[in-house]
Point group: C2
Chain length 214, copies 2
DNA sequence: TGCACTTTGTGCGTCGTTGCACTTAGTGTA
DNA sequence: TACACTAAGTGCAACGACGCACAAAGTGCA
């Protein structure tokens, strides 16, 4: 999942391993408890490092949690990238690109990601700083995807690609908000069905403006 | 098998873990190759430490190998101890104690231990120092067992216990030599049968002098 | 036998982890 | 509201792992 780091030497490798272990531990604790409800001591124990080491790598416990979320989003973007690459290339049209993106969107486990991030945010309560940080990361992910897809879809104007990706991503954000309100971000079968319905409605709605007239 | 070390703190614990990893790696390499035919670099890689760390814990590669053998013997003695404890207590007589010891002897996988140690010794060639070191360890193991069994068998004189244990251990050494000569210390089914035969002959031979007259 | 190469073992300095004592902030209760 | 306790975060020193350059020993070959 996360590519192994090629460190220049053992010392750097071990340092990177410790940092990764801390993030892995935070991730596991968040998944187990549905929210970042653990102490620095618990995190250090789970990561098998000392509590001082946690602060050697991160400025605060909040920093660990934010980095864990950023990492998860990075992985999700990678998954999405891989899914778009696996989709057969269309005829180079805007319609084909849209189909490619939405097919990839369905292939990625977005409910799990949204549930996770919401669990972290909900625990933070009115902490706008955390929410803002996550919005930043989400924005950057959208920009990265736009740039990459524009590179690959040379038949389509980069500006058009940016509009398309941004529209879809914004739509996903709206779907997420509704889904959380309707299901409480649980991950059971019925909750996933609700997600699928909302996502299909989003895709159908945006597609109406993209249908090929023949 | 090897009891987890209860270290006073993390630093001591990690240090002990590194030392143990080096010994585990040496053990694995000896078992894979039938003899201690590896470099310090290979050992360090396998143990996931730096080659400097190997020398932080041990004075030489030979020291690592010797400690690995000592550790194996220690484990074997522990297995033997456990086997004697599991054997139902006799009537407190010399004959009963002999039966207890020989039952335990059959329960321990001695061929594997002898084959391993022979592999290490053979690789050393005429290095008498290694052989002497191993004899020392074997002697100490015999002494430890004598002391422990004497403590548990209060009905029997400690001197008698020492004679008994020493006789049996010396017999095991003789069985080992013959077994190696006959089988080359291989561990296949026929080789193990030869070991069993030799051990049975040893036990029968010593028992003749111990049979209860009724 | 001499030479080139590899491996072992070592001294010393660097780096990162850890221990510990401390301050500050948060929390619960009387 | 004050107090006692817990937890987060920090500065500093000690420790052990590591990197590196080096000398010595071992090995293979011409």
């Amino acid at each position: 999942m996360i590519p192994p780091l090629i460190a220049p030497d053992r010392r750097a490798d071990i340092k990177a391993r410790h940092r990764r272990a801390i993030l892995d531990a935070a991730d596991a604790l968040i998944r187990e408890r549905g929210k970042p409800q653990f102490s620095v001591n618990e995190l250090a124990d789970r990561a098998d490092v000392s509590r001082r080491t946690v602060f050697n790598h991160f400025t605060s416990l909040d920093d660990v949690i934010m980095t864990t979320c950023t990492r998860l989003l990075g992985v999700t973007v990678d998954d999405f990238r891989a899914a778009t690459r696996a989709t057969p290339a269309g005829d180079g049209s805007r319609v084909a690109l849209f189909d490619e993106i939405t097919t990839a969107l369905r292939a990625v486990d977005l409910p799990t990601v949204v549930s996770y991030l919401w669990g972290v945010l909900a625990a933070d309560g009115e902490n706008g700083r955390s929410q803002h940080a996550l919005t930043d990361v989400f924005t950057r992910a959208t920009e990265q995807l736009s740039a990459e897809i524009a590179d690959r879809s040379t038949a389509i104007d980069a500006f058009e690609v940016a509009i398309l990706v941004s529209t879809v991503m914004n739509g996903v954000a709206v779907v997420s908000e509704h889904w959380i309100a309707m299901t409480g971000a649980t991950l059971d079968e019925s909750s996933r069905t609700v997600w699928d319905d909302l996502l299909n409605r989003l895709i159908a709605s945006i597609r109406m403006g993209y249908s090929a007239s023949s």
